[in-house]
């Protein structure tokens, strides 16, 4: 059951990511990224991270990607022009990426037994829900990082407003 779910959404993820790579119009790329994010949300759910699944949909798919689509629409960015691009990217980049992928895959398959198995719905302590657990840790142990990120967000908002404002 979980394997079927995993396979369906893993295939969707990879297809979306490849579509991001091959589409030439930014809006199509953005939409394929949305597909990747939604499928990842389902995968999070099967791993027992319900809160993250919801946050993934609300924050990433619902806010960040909408912002991307909005900017593409606003700037009326057309199809990507084909330029030669940097030679180094093709010569060193692609083989490098392939090497990293091969190495990681080999490592994970090799250590497969040691890494263990995932069970549907997660194996966190089920007497408390995932959200209760997260909020308990977040607001007790990790309160300082949480507050720091809120300041980061504030700075980012101010920065965005200053950068995007038309000069007088």
């Amino acid at each position: 059951m979980q394997l079927v779910l995993f396979l369906i959404f893993a295939v969707l993820c990879v297809a979306g990511a490849l579509n991001l790579l091959f589409q030439r119009h930014p809006i199509n790329s953005a939409l394929s990224l949305v597909v990747v994010m939604m499928s990842l949300a389902v995968i999070y759910w099967t791993l027992g991270a319900e809160f993250l699944a919801a946050a993934q949909v609300i924050v990433y798919a619902g806010a960040v990607m909408v912002l991307f689509v909005f900017v593409v629409m606003l700037l009326n960015a057309g199809e990507e022009e084909r330029t030669t691009g940097s030679r180094a990217a093709y010569i060193a980049g692609i083989p490098g990426v392939a090497a990293i992928l091969a190495l990681l895959t080999y490592m994970f398959m090799h250590e497969r037994a040691a890494l263990g198995y995932a069970t549907l719905g997660g194996s966190l302590n089920h007497t408390t829900s995932n959200i209760t657990e997260i909020s308990r840790v977040l607001f007790t142990e990790l309160l300082l990082p949480f507050e720091v990120t809120s300041i980061l967000i504030l700075v980012a908002i101010l920065g965005a407003v200053v950068l995007a404002r038309k000069e007088q």
């Binding site: 809006i27 939409l31 949305v34 939604m38 319900e50 809160f51 699944a53 919801a54 946050a55 949909v57 609300i58 798919a61 619902g62 806010a63 909408v66 912002l67 689509v69 909005f70 593409v72 629409m73 606003l74 829900s129 995932n130 959200i131």
Partner: protein, 352 residues
């Protein structure tokens, strides 16, 4: 049904439930349109639709047939795949969120809860998430139409919806803190103890949160007085200018389905969902069937009140200007929602 395994029984009942809920929602959408036309007519001192069937009751059917039979135009310069996809996203997202709404009291038949499609422990977040995905339908429709009015309408709609989503989400936090759960069933149960007195909007002192929710919800669904994305005096018809026939009908249905969803969420979070407003003042009467149907009656009644309020507001208030809309959302609703959260948290902390 003895020869079925428990899984098959579960599967069949769930499928049946899905079909019934879908059909009922679509019918409700059609009749909400009729309700709107009737009530608007009365507000404007005219009759509204009255020719098709008794009191115009068959008007939605006539509208449906008309929209089906119209020519499905496909303008030449549109971005074809996205142009077709956009109304599907809009309608799909509008209909999916109804799946987590509990319509009645917990009633199980053969181990399946028959009055709720799926009871998820993050039901409220699911509703918010699906609402935020619905933005894509509008954004893409405007962009793919290759029409400046459509593009302007969809830019307005997108900016408006992401701005008001914040206020919408924050206005619900007070209720979530009171019930300490995101499961919609738990939120309803936490308000059902003493009838009207334990509703969040009255007993929970969430009246401020409710007003924020109400205004943010009008903006989220692009309804008057925040219907700038389709302001017909400025933008022809906004993002669905280029759409015709069934594709237009899908946008139209999505708008009304969103209205129903928003009304359902307001009922669940602030008005005690399917619980009776009289609590235990009225002794239980009738058999088990009556007791199972009565909560549904209350739920539908509350949702209808909201829909009526929606239409009333549309018939009464003038449209906002765009800068007013944005400053209202960011400078008034958002700080107010945060203050509401702080006060609610303080009160809860003091009272324990």
């Amino acid at each position: 049904m003895n020869h079925l395994t428990p899984f098959q029984t579960y599967f069949l009942i769930t499928l049946l439930k899905l079909v019934v809920v879908l059909v009922l929602t679509l019918t409700a959408v059609a009749y909400t349109v009729l309700l709107e036309r009737k009530v608007l007519g009365r507000i404007q001192n005219r009759w509204g639709p009255s020719r098709v069937g008794p009191f115009g009751l068959l008007q939605p059917l006539a509208d449906g047939i008309k929209l089906f039979l119209k020519e499905d135009l496909m303008p030449l310069a549109v971005e074809r795949p996205l142009f077709v996809l956009a109304p599907v996203i809009a309608l799909g997202c509008a209909l999916i969120s109804i799946a987590v709404v509990p319509f009645g009291a917990l009633t199980t038949v053969k181990g399946v809860d028959i009055f709720q499609v799926s009871d998820i422990n993050i039901g409220l977040l699911v509703v918010l998430g699906i609402t935020s995905i619905g933005v894509y339908g509008i954004a893409l429709s405007g962009w793919s139409s290759n029409n400046k009015y459509s593009l302007l309408g969809s830019l307005r709609a997108t900016a408006q919806m992401i701005s008001y989503e914040l206020a919408l989400g924050l206005s619900l936090v007070g209720c979530v803190m009171r019930s300490q759960s995101l499961r919609l069933r738990d939120i309803v149960d936490s308000q059902s103890a003493h009838g009207m007195r334990s509703w969040n909007v009255i007993g929970g002192l969430q009246i401020v949160g409710f007003f924020i929710y109400l205004m943010a919800a009008y903006a989220e669904t692009n309804r008057a007085p925040f219907d700038l994305p389709e302001a017909e005096s400025e933008l022809v018809a906004g993002y669905h200018t280029e759409y015709s026939s069934m594709k237009f009908a899908m946008f139209f249905m999505a708008e009304y389905a969103n209205m129903i969803t928003v009304a359902c969420v307001a009922t669940l979070l602030f008005f005690g969902g399917a619980s009776s407003p009289f609590g235990h003042l009225i002794p239980d009467f009738g058999g088990a069937i009556v007791q199972a149907v009565l909560p549904i009656f209350w739920f539908v009644f509350k949702v209808l009140c909201f829909l009526f309020l929606y239409i009333w507001v549309r018939g009464t208030l003038p449209r906002f200007r765009y800068d007013q809309l944005m400053s209202f959302g960011w400078k008034f609703l958002l700080p107010l929602a945060m203050a509401n959260i702080l006060v609610t948290a303080l009160v809860l902390a003091i009272h324990g």
